[in-house]
Subunit: 504 residues, 2 copies
Amino acid sequence: MQQRILDPRLRERLMTAEQAAELIQPGMTVAMSGFTGAGYPKAVPQALAARMEQASGEGHPFRIKVLTGASTAPELDGALARVEGMELRLPYQSDPNVRERINAGTLNYIDIHLSHVAQHTWFGFFGDIDVAVIEVAGIREDGRLVPSSSVGNNKTWLDQADKVIIEVNRWQPAALDGMHDIYYGTALPPHRQPIPLTAPDDRIGEPYLKVDPAKIIAVVETDAPDRNSAFSPPDEASQQIAGHLLDFLDHEIKRGRLTDKLLPLQSGVGNIANAVLAGLSQGGYKGLAAYTEVIQDGMLELLKNGTLRMASATSFSLSPAGIEEFNANVDFYSKRILLRPQEISNHPEIIRRLGCIAMNGMIEADIYGNVNSTHIAGSRIMNGIGGSGDFTRNGYLSVFLSPSTAKGGKISGIVPMASHVDHTEHDTMVIVTEQGLADLRGLAPKQRARLIIERCAHPDYKPMLQDYFDRASRESYGKHTPHLLDEALSWHRRFVETGTMRPG
Amino acid sequence: MQQRILDPRLRERLMTAEQAAELIQPGMTVAMSGFTGAGYPKAVPQALAARMEQASGEGHPFRIKVLTGASTAPELDGALARVEGMELRLPYQSDPNVRERINAGTLNYIDIHLSHVAQHTWFGFFGDIDVAVIEVAGIREDGRLVPSSSVGNNKTWLDQADKVIIEVNRWQPAALDGMHDIYYGTALPPHRQPIPLTAPDDRIGEPYLKVDPAKIIAVVETDAPDRNSAFSPPDEASQQIAGHLLDFLDHEIKRGRLTDKLLPLQSGVGNIANAVLAGLSQGGYKGLAAYTEVIQDGMLELLKNGTLRMASATSFSLSPAGIEEFNANVDFYSKRILLRPQEISNHPEIIRRLGCIAMNGMIEADIYGNVNSTHIAGSRIMNGIGGSGDFTRNGYLSVFLSPSTAKGGKISGIVPMASHVDHTEHDTMVIVTEQGLADLRGLAPKQRARLIIERCAHPDYKPMLQDYFDRASRESYGKHTPHLLDEALSWHRRFVETGTMRPG
């Protein structure tokens, strides 16, 4: 088996996960690697959870503050949540155990634009980082680190933490070596310079992470897979949503607003995103680029058949089949994929310069185009805003895609008033459901409402929305954005009380 | 009197405002100069309004779509609104006649981030621009234009309009010549390059606007002052708000997060902004810089006494006394003031690079830090989002300042749920009222609520807010962002129904 720890100084700090976990104390702020179930530490968090459980059983609550890149996996978020081991979590999560505690009111969670996390750490807004726990794919002779399947905030955690624990995961493909582009040109204001990236393909940094070896207090070896969500083929609604979006892109090309190379694609993860990608491939597009957060199985296929010429991201989150495909064709893929720190993958400066086409899911949109990405019924967190704000505000186009209903029709994705707003009316250009697409560009609020109701609402809810809008247009206090304040949130109230937004 | 039109070709196109107004036809999209009551055309819009009134009297409604930089003045917005001459207005307004029609539902208004307007025009999102009507301070021998007291979107309007009408206003100080920095390095994606501005002082463009002389269909001479709002000394509440903010800045310096040079200041206009500026001067700050939208009287004083070493903006909006001061010390001020296109003054890339301290007013904030900048009771537009989103999302610090009550105490500036959201919980760092300051950085929603209620709410409303929050924390569907859906907007409903948010 190939040695992954080539720096002899760091081989001396090898220890077990249990020993490493002993170096973390209650109340500490601990920054960990991990982005969308890729590249998170696999062993130390579980050992730490065991320690926490024991301490707690002995009457000594043991909780820490946990910062990551984005979502992780059961071995990190799940393990720490189950033993009530976190007092604060940021900047994003998607774990059922974490979510349950946040919504029970027992775990503080800060939901942050992913591009803001690194700079707010540097600014000192989150206080000191006591320990970083970072998974890497290897350690070179000179102590530089071969990043793992995600970069996330690792550069910042390694720079800013007082102490560092490294997990070296030999399960990660050796071929990751060279696929990363770590930009070390950042600075604090007033010393910032332009970021010299003008195309998704540009390399502006170096392939390795740097860390002061004196800060490394432990090195732990692991051999464990990433979360590996399996890839499921798009369902019918997703294919319809993708179809509407592809028709729209064709129309934009015909009008001369886009070329057939489009502009760099950003896409959220999941069924609808996969359907859009598959549709681009079937639609005959060639030579596109992705400037996005996560590379999933669907993108490998598009790279292989030439739909995509390259993809830039911060996380490489594949299914077991995807990993197999990658390992079997390493030379091909490693030339076409770049992984960057999330402060660069999500940087407003770059997203606006490149003119990304931002495509993200949502929980609900209201008839004026305000979008809720995070809260069920205004109070219950789902996951978080993630990078959707970074791309939506700064992209060339901002598109939100969602089925028109959820929970078997009990929830409408189009509501009179969003119960929480993550993306404002000023930021939303296009809304797509399986019913159709509403192009909101150049429209005033009432024009938007008519179009969203007509094109995007489910037939079961359309008459109710039209009725609300008609009455609001007559009776509202102001008629710029008509609302009936006693009814605006009544659909959500009905859902909370009866389990459905449909009237009884 | 000095000749302001030096290009003989353009002197041949001199005509009256009435003749020029004849060149504008019903249904046209007309882009005009003007930003915060400075640099808007003074004569053609009034002549056009007279034409519209006549046409309308003869049974021929005459309406156009009007795009500007930001707010204008009675001679433009007021005149066109009074004759029902606009079918669409964007991207910002503050005129009582315009506001009345928007809120009556008879005038479509699109409220847009000011940094987005130029690029969305280039992208084709607003359709073709038929005519531009642009005020300038003069025309040079070679046909280049000396910009007026605001730049706004003029570069874009001159480039994108099919035809151009120029108003040459000899009232504008001749000394404006040379104070502008018009950047011609913009491009459409995928051809964009980094904007080479790394300090507020940097000149990256040229002092003059360019236009194809063949497009100029009329030149009109005027001699009329800008709107010239008088400067009123800060009231007590504004001084208290400023005091809290200055204490906070001192604290940030002591903690080492800021130096005594701070970072480039952006500040909204009005009483509170003036009080903050005055406070910086009294606080002994020296050599600061402003990177903002509007230069008002208060900034001249700060330039004069060395508090500010320079100021960059897109509009120069002075009172009559301010104009007098400027004209009496032209050599001093013209070296220290730069006026840029609003796509540069408000550019996310630049604002994030410079790390601006963003200070803006608001209508209301909710207990979780969501901010409403635009709508009274969720439906009635006040002005618009303006540049507040550009600076808030991208600045080093985002601060919202407001008295804790309005309308003699009948409206609370802190409410259970914002009735409209322009700045989300993800974007708001600091909220200040005359009661105190809430620093929300690094806090989860419930922690924010406790702090905002404690520090910022008016004593008359504090117990009601605390009661709402306590009950919501027990009874809410989710306890991440606790809300009672049947009460969340009840304060606004009460205000609409009874004229006050206080319970009867």
